[in-house]
Structure formats: structure tokens, C-alpha cells
């Protein structure tokens, strides 16, 4: 018991460090990537390739005063940024980075991640509500309706995977996807279901991840050209910093989950590449997904709130439901 507790505490510390490091350097990667896409260099002055930029930015944010607007709900206002970071950190605990590297594997790991993920929108609601700002309020309401709409297709797609693998244990889900690319859930040709619609399921899941993490083209909560900065409009200092970090931590979690559910976790694409450690494959896959997140953000305009809800209720949910039924049927046949 005490060993498990220690294990979890150690894991949380490592998770915070991992999340913070990732958040800092993903900001750098995003800025550099955006720069290259727009044919400018991006941050390149501080340190080699501008690599000292994130710690310096962090230092600057920490040196600033946290202002609380008059009339704001102080407790919620201060709690919201912490709360936004919390689900992302907790989710790291159960993510298996390889066969060996996992803090605490649970037989309901998938459920736990979804449970924590849905509490993330609560932080946005608190932030928007407590700021006493009309833009923030509108943004909070948007974020919640968006989160509700996108959790449904995401969960249905996850259930499809659970049906195929018969478990909610993330490690077990990954183990069943070995040894080659044809066993991955995105192209399940050699597994038990042979469902050819899985690539579309993957697209749906990926779209929902974009929407869940409030990333462009679904960044309606932030919508800087309409709601200025959305729910974190009144936040300065590290309050803003935490929201910023939470966004990137959520992206990492989303990519981890997509990798585990669809891209075969730590398995190499071909069996003879197995000499490279699993964790390398896992990190490679999540960083490719994160690069895609960044790439998408700097390519597309933002959707509207009703366009987003239409997409969810009229396209994603029917297709994912159909896919669920098809998978169930195929599993019965084969």
C-alpha cells in the first residue's frame, strides 16, 4: 500500500515535470513551426535556435503581479488555473509510455482519463464565470457546450475500441496491437474485427481531441478575434501561464491517448524494428501528432459555434454510432 502511494507521488512529480517541460518546449515548437509556415524565423535570438526563450518567458510571467479584477469571485478566480492543470497531470499517472514505464496501471485507465478530461471544462467555466467579464462569460458558456458536444463522439469511438479489445486497461489495449502496423487499431486488418471504417474513427477521435483541447480550428473559447482572449482574458502572470501550460499538457494527453488507442502505443510499425526501445516509438508517435496539431492550427480559420455543434451532432455522432454498430456486428461474425 505505502509503496503504491509512494509510487503515485513519485509519478505525479515526474508527471508535473514532464508536463511543464513539454508545455514550455511545445510553445517554443509552436512558435518556431508557425514561423516556418509563415516564412519567418520565429524566436531565434535567446540561445541556440531560441531554445532559452521558454524559460525566460516563464521567468517573466512569474515576475509579474497576479491582478484580480474588482468584483471577481476571488476563490474561484485563483482556483481556476490550478484546476485546469490538475486533470492533465492526473491523467499522466496512468499513461503507459512503454511496457515498463507506467506510474500506476489501472484496469479502468481509459475511464479514468475520460473522467479527468471532462473536469477540465469545469476549470474554464470557473475562470469565465469568476472573472466578471462579459467576454470571459461568453467564452465559458461556449467551452462547456463544446465539451459536452465533443465528448459524446469521442466516448463512442473509445467504446468501439473497448469492444474490439475487450478491456479498458490501457496497457492491455496496447499489447493487443502488436506486433506490426496491420494490428494497430487504425488499420485493424489482422485483428479480430477487420473493420475498414477504423481510419474514419481515427479521424473522428482526432477531431474530437482538437475540440476537447480547445485547439484551432475549434478554439472558440479563446477566439482572440471575437472574444479577445476568452476565459483567460483577465488573467496575467502565472495564472495565464498555468492556462497556457494546461492547454499544452492537454494536447500531450490527447496525443498519448490517440497513440494508445489507435496507433499501437509503444509498438514499432514493423516487427524487425523492435530493437529500438518502445518509449522512443511512443514519444515519436505523440510528437508527430502534436506537430499535426500545430500544423492544423496555422492552416485553418476558426469554425463558428453552431458550425462546430452541427459537425458534432450531424456528422461525427451518426458516423461514430454507425461504426460502433458495425464493429459489434463484425466482431460477432468473425
Amino acid at each position: 500500500m505505502s509503496l503504491t502511494l509512494l509510487n503515485v507521488i513519485f509519478a505525479v512529480v515526474v508527471a508535473i515535470a514532464f508536463a511543464a517541460l513539454n508545455a514550455a518546449y511545445l510553445v517554443w515548437a509552436e512558435r518556431r513551426g508557425a514561423g516556418r509556415i509563415q516564412r519567418r524565423p520565429g524566436p531565434n535570438i535567446n540561445g541556440p535556435f531560441g531554445l532559452f526563450q521558454p524559460p525566460l518567458d516563464g521567468l517573466k510571467l512569474m515576475a509579474k503581479q497576479l491582478t484580480i479584477p474588482g468584483g471577481a469571485d476571488k476563490i474561484l478566480f485563483v482556483a481556476a488555473p490550478v484546476l485546469s492543470m490538475f486533470p492533465a497531470i492526473m491523467s499522466f499517472v496512468t499513461i503507459p509510455f512503454s511496457e515498463m514505464i507506467v506510474a500506476h496501471n489501472m484496469n479502468v485507465g481509459l475511464l479514468m482519463i475520460f473522467a479527468f478530461a471532462s473536469s477540465g471544462s469545469m476549470a474554464l467555466l470557473f475562470a469565465g464565470w469568476s472573472s466578471r467579464n462579459k467576454y470571459a462569460m461568453m467564452s465559458a458558456v461556449r467551452s462547456v457546450s463544446q465539451a459536452v458536444a465533443y465528448e459524446i463522439p469521442m466516448l463512442i469511438t473509445a467504446i468501439t475500441i473497448v469492444l474490439m479489445t475487450g478491456t479498458m486497461d490501457l496497457m492491455e489495449i496496447v499489447r493487443q496491437q502488436g506486433p506490426s502496423i496491420l494490428h494497430w487499431n487504425i488499420f485493424p486488418l489482422l485483428t479480430n474485427s477487420h473493420n475498414l471504417l477504423m481510419p474514419f474513427s481515427f479521424l473522428i477521435f482526432f477531431t474530437c481531441t482538437l475540440a476537447e483541447t480547445n485547439r484551432a480550428p475549434f478554439d472558440l473559447g479563446e477566439a482572440e478575434s471575437e472574444l479577445v482572449a476568452g476565459f483567460h482574458i483577465e488573467y496575467g502572470s502565472m495564472g495565464f501561464g498555468l492556462f497556457f501550460m494546461a492547454e499544452y499538457a492537454n494536447i500531450v494527453i490527447g496525443s498519448c491517448l490517440t497513440t494508445i488507442l489507435f496507433l499501437g502505443g509503444w509498438h514499432p510499425p514493423l516487427p524487425f524494428l523492435g530493437f529500438i526501445p518502445g518509449v522512443v516509438w511512443f514519444l515519436l508517435k505523440i510528437y508527430i501528432l502534436i506537430a499535426t496539431f500545430i500544423w492544423i492550427r496555422w492552416t485553418f480559420p476558426r469554425t463558428t459555434i453552431y458550425g462546430l455543434l452541427n459537425l458534432s451532432w450531424k456528422i461525427l455522432i451518426p458516423i461514430s454510432l454507425f461504426n460502433l454498430l458495425l464493429t459489434a456486428g463484425l466482431l460477432k461474425v468473425f
Binding site: 509563415q38 462579459k134 458558456v141 482572440e224 478575434s225 471575437e226 480559420p301 469554425t303 463558428t304 458550425g307
Partner: protein
């Protein structure tokens, strides 16, 4: 997306969009009474950057006022200067050499392209896409470099003179302009694929902010706002001025009346401007750029003069009442954006805030030009 509004004053709230807001591109303030995300009523408040250009026009001599025109609209300055010099030339009876008039047209059209490019980028940025702005600025930068090498400044040109031009264009400029035309056409194909064809972009603009012909006429809208609503009006064709009748170009008109139509009109106008520049470069006559005996002191004959030109933002008019003195008795500047903007109050009722701000982007507002 709009819905019928039942006004419940107790459940609405007021949002001040601006004077400092990323979507208003300047110091325009819009007071919006909102019901949730829907706009119940909106009121545009202008005057935050009023600089009394018309009064300055009355107090200063004609050459001294010349540089004020380019401060009206910093994105399409050439067109405004063109209107002013044409009006004063008409009043004072100054003959302009043909070469000067051709160069003016080249400059105005290049400036129109630059202005439309910036609008294109800023409009997509209003909709949340960042990269097209940077691509558009790259092309615009090319134009600005060309202009700078001739006029000496990048935005607020003071290039046109009564009777001609400040200085002549050189071979370098002509070569650069010729290189620019195919480059711009290539970029247009890129924008077509990256933005115009994009499903998110189209979904947001199709059917957004229906502007009927009647509304456009009622408010005196011009430029792409009117032409996107099926009104075939362009000063260059309807009241030809300068050497425009000698060029072969079309006026793009779209009949959908929505924001996408307004977008399409402007994008098609870039191609038409390229055609005009191409023809003007081919036909460019030799000769002086200033008349042989240009008057040193401009004293127009007493009378009432009006000259309209088509600028990047629409029909710009200069009305000059002269009493024969060194300064005008009255100088009225009819700015197109002023008319285009006032559509907003009426049309955005019942729209959602994001649609309303997309609509505002499609109007191509330049705030200093409204307030002058």
C-alpha cells in the same frame, strides 16, 4: 445564422466592442446589446480618430493640403490623392500630360492590389486563420518596395501633383511591375486553394449577412459591398475619369449578397487590376510628367466642382467649392467606408457575434477613413 429576437431588456447585456478590440481594426466602437451570443441591437460609435481633414482643407492652400489625403486611408492612399488632384485640376483647368495619367493609373491599381491583399489577410485573420495574412503581406511588401523606390515612402505617399507627378518612374520600376504580375497570379492560385476552397471558410461566409440591393442603395454603399449584392456600379466604368476608358477590364459582380460574394468580388478585382496594370505598362507613352507651364500658385476659378473616383474601398468623392482664393471655400470629402459601415447597425441585428464580426471584416473598414 439568425433568429427572431424577442426583446427582453432584463435578460440582455451590453458589450462594448472597441474602441480597442482586435476585430475592429482601429478605433471603431460598436455598442452591442446582446441576448446571449445573439445581437439584439448594435450601434456603431465613430469619431475616436477624427482629425478634421475637411477643415484643414479649408485652412491650407491646395498644395499644402495634398499630403493630408494619403493620411485618410493609409492602405489605399493613392486612390484618394487621385480624386483630390483630379478635382483641383478640373477646377483650375490644368492639363495633365498623358504619361502622368498612365503612371497615376498604374500606381492606383497597384495600390488597390496592395490594399485588397491586406484586407484579405486581415479578413482571414478575423476568421481565425493566421498564415494567409503573412502570405498576403509578402506579396504586398513587393508592391510597397516598388512604390518606395519611386515615391519615397511606403504608405502615406505624396506622389501626385496638380498637373502631374512628383517624379517619373524608371525602367527598374517597370521591370519590377512586370515581374510582379505573374508572381501575383501564382499567389492568387495559392489563396484560392488555401482559403477560398477551404470548407470552414466557406461554411462561415455562405449566407452570412444578407445585404439586399435596397439596403445597399439606402445607405449609399459602394465598392465590393454593393457589387457583392448584384449592383453593377463602379466609378471607373459608370463615370469614366482619367485614362480608364482606354483599358479593357471587367467589373466583377456577384449576386449572392453574402459575405462570400463580397470576398469573391475583391479577389476578382485583384485580377482585373493586374490586367489594367499590364495594359498600362504596354501602352505607357513617352513624354513629360508635368505640364510645361504648371501654375505655381493654384487658384481655381470660383465655382462648385465634384469628382468621384473608385478607390479600393469604393466611390470616393471630392466636392470643392472655390471662391477663387488660394484656399477652398469648402472641401467635402465623401468617404466610401462611412457609408459602407452604417449598414452594419441594421444588418447585424439577430446575428451571432462571430458572424457579425465576420460581416464587419467583409466590409473592409479603415477607421481613419471614416472619421477623416
Amino acid at each position: 445564422m439568425s433568429k427572431p429576437i424577442e426583446l427582453r431588456p432584463d435578460e440582455t447585456f451590453v458589450v462594448n466592442v472597441g474602441p480597442q478590440h482586435p476585430a475592429t481594426h482601429g478605433v471603431l466602437r460598436v455598442k452591442m446589446r446582446m441576448d446571449g451570443e445573439y445581437i439584439v441591437e448594435a450601434e456603431t460609435v465613430i469619431g475616436y480618430i477624427h482629425r478634421m481633414h475637411e477643415k484643414m482643407g479649408e485652412l491650407k492652400t491646395y498644395p499644402q493640403f495634398l499630403m493630408n489625403l494619403s493620411r485618410m486611408d493609409y492602405l489605399g492612399a493613392m486612390g484618394y490623392c487621385h480624386g483630390h488632384v483630379l478635382c483641383v485640376e478640373k477646377a483650375a483647368g490644368i492639363e495633365v500630360p498623358e504619361r502622368a495619367e498612365y503612371i497615376r493609373v498604374i500606381m492606383v491599381e497597384l495600390n488597390r492590389i496592395a490594399s485588397h491583399l491586406f484586407w484579405f489577410g486581415a479578413f482571414v485573420m478575423d476568421l481565425g486563420g493566421f498564415s494567409p495574412l503573412m502570405y498576403a503581406l509578402q506579396d504586398r511588401e513587393y508592391i510597397l518596395d516598388m512604390m518606395e523606390s519611386v515615391t519615397g515612402s511606403r504608405l502615406t505617399y505624396c506622389y501626385f501633383r496638380f498637373g502631374g507627378l512628383y517624379n517619373d518612374i524608371d525602367d527598374e520600376f517597370i521591370a519590377a511591375a512586370r515581374r510582379f504580375i505573374p508572381r501575383m497570379r501564382k499567389s492568387m492560385a495559392k489563396y484560392e486553394k488555401l482559403v477560398t476552397g477551404n470548407v470552414i471558410f466557406r461554411k462561415r461566409l455562405e449566407g452570412n449577412a444578407f445585404l439586399s440591393k435596397e439596403v445597399c442603395r439606402k445607405y449609399g454603399a459602394s465598392s465590393a459591398v454593393a457589387r457583392g449584392s448584384g449592383i453593377n456600379f463602379d466609378v471607373r466604368k459608370n463615370e469614366p475619369y482619367s485614362v480608364y476608358p482606354e483599358f479593357n477590364f471587367d467589373i466583377p459582380v456577384f449576386h449572392e449578397c453574402d459575405s462570400l460574394a463580397r470576398y469573391n468580388v475583391r479577389m476578382a478585382e485583384i485580377e482585373q487590376s493586374l490586367r489594367i496594370v499590364e495594359q498600362a505598362l504596354d501602352k505607357l507613352p513617352d513624354g513629360p510628367i508635368m505640364p510645361a507651364k504648371a501654375p505655381k500658385i493654384i487658384k481655381p476659378n470660383a465655382g462648385d466642382y465634384y469628382q468621384a473616383v473608385e478607390t479600393a474601398r469604393g466611390s470616393f468623392g471630392v466636392r470643392l467649392v472655390s471662391d477663387g482664393g488660394k484656399t477652398p471655400y469648402r472641401l467635402k470629402l465623401r468617404s466610401p467606408t462611412y457609408s459602407n459601415m452604417h449598414l452594419f447597425d441594421e444588418t447585424c441585428t439577430g446575428m451571432m457575434i462571430m458572424d457579425a464580426l465576420a460581416f464587419m471584416g467583409s466590409l473592409d473598414l479603415v477607421i481613419p477613413e471614416i472619421d477623416r
